[in-house]
């Protein structure tokens, strides 16, 4: 899945950002990026299910190791 940031600028001045395709805690660094881009304070942070997922290549690596051990 393509990794993307979607930044939404609302008419009331608020800014919302959502990460797509970025799994695990890596997405958190983009909160800091938004802070720098917009001189904004983060007022709310929610975790989607991707935050609790792991990168696919990491999972594959683990499975290959298990195969070799067998």
């Amino acid at each position: 899945m393509k990794k993307q940031l979607k930044i939404k600028l609302l008419p009331n001045g608020e800014i919302q950002m959502k990460t797509h395709g970025i799994k695990g805690k890596k997405c958190l660094k983009y909160a800091e990026l938004l802070r720098q881009l917009a001189d904004a304070d983060i007022v709310k942070q929610e975790y989607t299910k991707e935050y609790y997922e792991q990168e696919e290549d990491y999972i594959q690596t683990n499975e290959q190791q298990n195969l070799f051990e067998l």
Binding site: K2, L5, P11, N12, G13, I22, Q36, L37
Partner: protein, 180 residues
């Protein structure tokens, strides 16, 4: 009679004088009052106590946080004679004399960092509310525009660029940025 005191909004000076003068008639009495006011201001480093401000003006909360955006908004609205004194902005707008303060030292700043607005107590509340609604709307629109320009410019410094832009029905702008 004229008094020139630096770094104090015109509104406050004229209001203080009129509030203090009352029924004084003589030039001498006026002169004594103006000297008293001058002395009080000088003692207070040319700043007016927040309790004085609050006693002669009505205080309102605002959505205004960013000074540059607020000044741009007032200019867009055609406001004349804007006086910018650091943490205080004073202007005349549609018959109202308005002061915006963001000055924690004098108790006139919102905890969240928003400007507080002060208007003379004899103003028409309904007209003022309508005016502020219009200005607030313009302010938030200007905030959106400034955020857009800032983000677009700063993405370049991070070697990122906007791959897609979309304006939604509610006038929100959605920027899509691909991450390698």
């Amino acid at each position: 009679m004229s008094i020139v005191i630096s770094a104090v909004p015109v509104l406050i000076i004229s209001t203080l004088i009129s509030a203090s003068v009352g029924t004084y008639q003589s030039a001498k009495a006026l002169s004594e009052t103006s000297q008293m006011i001058k002395k009080r201001l000088e003692d207070n480093n040319n700043h007016v106590d927040s309790d004085i401000i609050k006693s002669i003006c009505r205080e309102y909360d605002t959505v205004f946080v960013n000074k540059d955006v607020l000044l741009k908004t007032l200019n867009d609205y055609g406001v004349d004679d804007i006086k910018d004194d650091g943490s205080r902005i004073t202007c005349r707008l549609e018959g109202f004399t308005i002061s915006f303060y963001k000055d924690i030292q004098y108790g006139t700043a919102d905890e969240s960092g928003n400007y507080k607005m002060f208007v003379k107590t004899d103003c028409n509340e309904e007209e003022l509310q309508e005016l502020m609604n219009n200005i607030s709307e313009q302010y938030t629109s200007n905030t959106q525009e400034e955020s857009y320009n800032k983000i677009k410019e700063r993405l370049k410094k991070h070697n990122l660029e906007i791959n897609d832009e979309e304006v939604l029905e509610d006038n929100s702008i959605v920027l899509t940025i691909d991450i390698d």
